[in-house]
């Protein structure tokens, strides 16, 4: 059973298109995240939701819009894709309280914008 699953794993699209990445976790965690790994290999936080409420919103262009229909799902929608959006996007989840610092990651979704 995959704990944190993301779809699609690979996504190739043209500039200007709109695309979504979906994430689901079956760990019963309260908090979910989107991290972006750019070409320099740094993992940077983009958003965090706790029980459907947005709690972290880093300086991300508003073309990126996360949506959390319930605490087990966190989707990422990207409008008007740009070349610089090419990256690997990782979904993650964590518990609240003790253990909140430890993240469980999905396998990543590699987005390539042409």
């Amino acid at each position: 059973d995959t704990a944190v699953s993301q779809t699609p794993k690979y996504l190739v699209t043209q500039m200007g298109n709109d695309k979504s990445i979906k994430c689901e976790q079956n760990l019963g965690h309260d908090t979910m995240y989107w991290y972006k790994q750019d070409s320099k290999k740094f993992l940077k936080i983009m958003f965090s939701y706790n029980n459907k409420e947005l709690i972290i919103n880093e300086t991300v262009p508003n073309r990126f819009s996360p949506k959390s229909p319930d605490k087990a799902h966190l989707n990422l929608h990207i409008n008007s894709l740009e070349l610089g959006d090419s990256a690997v996007y990782f979904c993650a989840s964590s518990l609240r309280g003790a253990g909140a610092n430890v993240l469980t990651f999905g396998a990543g979704s590699r987005l390539t914008v042409l």
Partner: protein, 114 residues
């Protein structure tokens, strides 16, 4: 502003020997530190962590050392095994609210030769 740095992009060791991976941070607010291991085409997986109230934490073959005054931590793997070959990410966070917001280094690729 790169708050967490892993200055060695790669490390190669012989099977059975010790692997030492290093990490430096600049933000004094960080009080919880983690190491993640990542295989190709997979997400990072949690390996070991340490709170700033400790200077050492051990889990089997893995030991993390923290030197708060130097803002430096290291991961020791002994003995190293070929299956340990992966990218290792150091991460720093603040315990408490938004604890899952981690700042990552850019990783060290460890190769363990049989």
């Amino acid at each position: 502003d790169q708050q967490v740095k892993q200055n060695s992009p790669s490390l190669s060791v012989q099977e059975g020997r010790i692997s030492i991976l290093n990490c430096d941070y600049t933000n004094s607010m960080f009080d919880y530190f983690l190491w993640y291991k990542k295989y190709p085409a997979e997400g990072p997986t949690f390996l070991i962590s340490i709170s700033s109230i400790k200077d050492k934490n051990e889990d089997g073959r893995f030991t993390v050392f923290l030197n708060k005054s130097a803002k430096h931590l290291s991961l020791h793997i002994v003995p190293s095994q070929p299956g340990d070959s992966a990218v290792y990410f150091c991460a720093a966070s603040v315990w408490g609210t938004n604890a899952g917001k981690s700042t990552f280094g850019d990783g060290t690729t460890l190769t363990v030769k049989p």
